[in-house]
Symmetry: C2
Subunit: 387 residues, 2 copies
């Protein structure tokens, strides 16, 4: 799209800047916003007045004086509207309603009968009907819908390829916008998870992070400078198919030695001496709690291979924080020491210096919350400039 500079752009930039500061540092005064942003007091006053008119900001009363007139404190009005967050996974559909600060109001999960697009859309429609009825009375109502999908997504919200659903080239955003008459954002499941953890979870204080979703495969969401990073043509982070054993196990993708064969739930099938039918992390965690040597050994191997892949990602992206999420997060007590050992032995000293490996704080909710936040972020009209 053609972007040129004009006064509307200036206002958009500054209004977004003011709102961001209020969201981050509330309660605070107009004068403080002026100091934080570098904008003139008069400018801040004008923009704040517009935000108050939009009902996105509230005056919450007077604050402490610091030797002069008492400031009028401003706060973000998190109840001005609500967002829907959807996680479409292989077996089930989860929908949450959140306020504008990503706090979950209600949550519903239902099993997916099959993977056909129509079935999925019908189920969504039924579940959304329930959700819409639950939206509390508010100025803006339901402001949008964010969806996390287990596959590759382009910038137009088309699902390019979702092998576990058997989807290929589904114009999901278009269909959902038509169906619900709402602005819709579509993200890869791992990217949504990364956004969720960045905004409300383990990554709240980080600017550069890699979120690794470890389930029946591995996906990564990458945040650089507070922004979700997607490669060319709108998606990236298919790191599960990074080869860590050049001549290792053959993978369904055509390659060999893919990371996810060794370090995800897929390892349950691939690494046991006696192939074991159970590919459920909960089962193996239970076994590990009972000190079953096979489970301990299994998680050690998974931990080590996670460490190897994490090292590779750290050398490429140099994040300050790596967050491990997905089902495998439940095995933290058994994998963590091995991940830690491998990472601290293998990463380059400069990368290691400030690197922290953590486990998802939002647990199963990272993706739905992140998906909802993508919709919120679009509604609030965030803008960034780089020089």
């Amino acid at each position: 799209m053609k972007i040129t500079g004009d006064q509307a752009l200036v206002k958009k930039i500054n209004k977004s800047l003011v709102l961001d500061n209020i969201r981050s540092y509330a309660p605070l005064s107009r004068t403080r916003v002026s100091q934080l942003t570098g904008l003139n007091k008069a400018t801040v006053s004008n923009l704040v007045q517009e935000l108050i008119d939009d009902r996105l900001v509230l005056e919450s009363g007077e604050g402490q004086s610091s030797g002069g007139r008492k400031p009028l404190m401003l706060e973000f009005n998190q109840s001005a509207g609500y967002a829907a967050g959807v996680e479409l996974s292989v077996n089930e559909l989860t929908i949450v309603l959140t306020d504008l600060e990503g706090k979950i109001i209600t949550r519903h999960t239902e099993p997916l009968p099959d993977h056909r697009v129509e079935t999925t859309l019908e189920l969504m429609q039924r579940m959304m009907a329930v959700l819409v009825a639950e939206v509390p009375p508010s100025v803006h109502g339901l402001i949008g819908m964010g969806v996390g999908v287990p596959g590759m997504v382009d910038e137009q919200g088309n699902v390019l390829f979702a092998p576990n659903l058997g989807w290929e080239g589904v114009p999901l955003r278009e269909e959902l916008e038509q169906l619900f008459g709402l602005p819709v954002t579509i993200d890869n499941e791992a990217n949504a998870g990364a956004i969720g953890e960045l905004q409300f979870g383990a990554g709240r204080h980080a600017r550069h992070l890699v979120y690794i979703s470890v389930g029946m495969g591995i996906g990564s969401g990458i945040i650089i400078d507070g922004q979700p990073y997607t490669g060319a043509r709108g998606y990236a982070g298919e790191t599960g198919h990074m080869s860590v054993e050049a001549n290792g196990l053959p993978c369904s993708c055509g390659s060999r030695g893919c990371w996810e064969l060794y370090a995800s739930e897929l390892a349950y099938e691939h690494t046991l001496i006696d192939p074991h039918p159970n590919t459920n992390t909960a089962y193996w965690v239970q076994q590990a709690m009972w000190d079953e040597p096979e489970a301990i050994r299994l998680f050690q191997q998974i931990g080590e291979y996670l460490g190897i892949g994490i090292t590779n990602l750290v050398n490429s992206f140099n994040p300050e924080l790596v967050i491990i999420g997905g089902h495998m997060r439940q095995a933290e007590p058994w994998i963590a020491p091995h991940v830690e050992a491998v990472v601290s032995q293998r990463t380059l000293p400069y990368h290691r210096q400030k690197l922290v490996v953590q486990y998802s704080e939002l647990g199963e909710q990272s993706t739905v919350i992140g998906a909802a936040y993508a919709a919120i972020s679009q509604f609030l009209g965030r803008v960034r400039i780089s020089i």
Copy 2:
């Protein structure tokens, strides 16, 4: 830095937009610029007048009429100033003088006597003295200096770590700016190479590319959406230490199975059955020309491992183009088929679809030209906005 929106920013954005269009599509009329940018004709006229006053744009005469008044054609004045591009490599120092379109005017190379910072700065000073005398008479003269360094660089132009030089924490930009009184930009050698190929080489028509510099090690420069991509804290792409054999050869970095041990000039030491003292690509290319089976086998292995690492990068960054540069580029005839075979077998179908693997067009010059372009780009004050 605090960035707010004001009229100066608007003007900067639009002026940069106009100049970019003139550089890309010259010769063209003001009206055409207005159509291309979406800016009002009057705005374009004003900005073009300023650019003419700055001597960055010239009126090159009248063009063809299309049924009305003849247009006044505009061109970018590539001789308005000159930039210095420097490549600091392990054995030598290369300096070029380029015009504002990156065309090399003069070029000098001298061996580095040792790796001490002072020695290097002294040599630079001597070589720059020669270069300065060669700058043709022009409005802006020598507008800046860009340097490509074999190591990690932060956003302030500090060389954090350059193992092959033994440098650690050298404030190179600061020292050079003081020494020469010029704006200086510092980039990683591979990033500079990527910029060079993007602007003037094999990547001219690409927006997303990965440039792989294969010499005594591997470094990667990543371009996303036409912009050099650096990770957190200003550097990224240390992909040479990506582990592709989880339990492979031990590497000096502390890890095992690092890509560069198998796919760079380091492979000459590591993969031969009889360790061979010769680590020179030129030597092995000569051997391969004589159909020596050992050389053929060597390049086959290097090609295959290059393909494996490239696959990993493609899965993470999804570029449309991969460019192989550095000394190893000389072995293209012997490695290319193997790279191609592995990449087309291993990459995910969606990534493969539009992916092209090419070899550096600028050859040994990618880095110096890219470094010079970094200085030019800063001089021209390019701005980008994203919404």
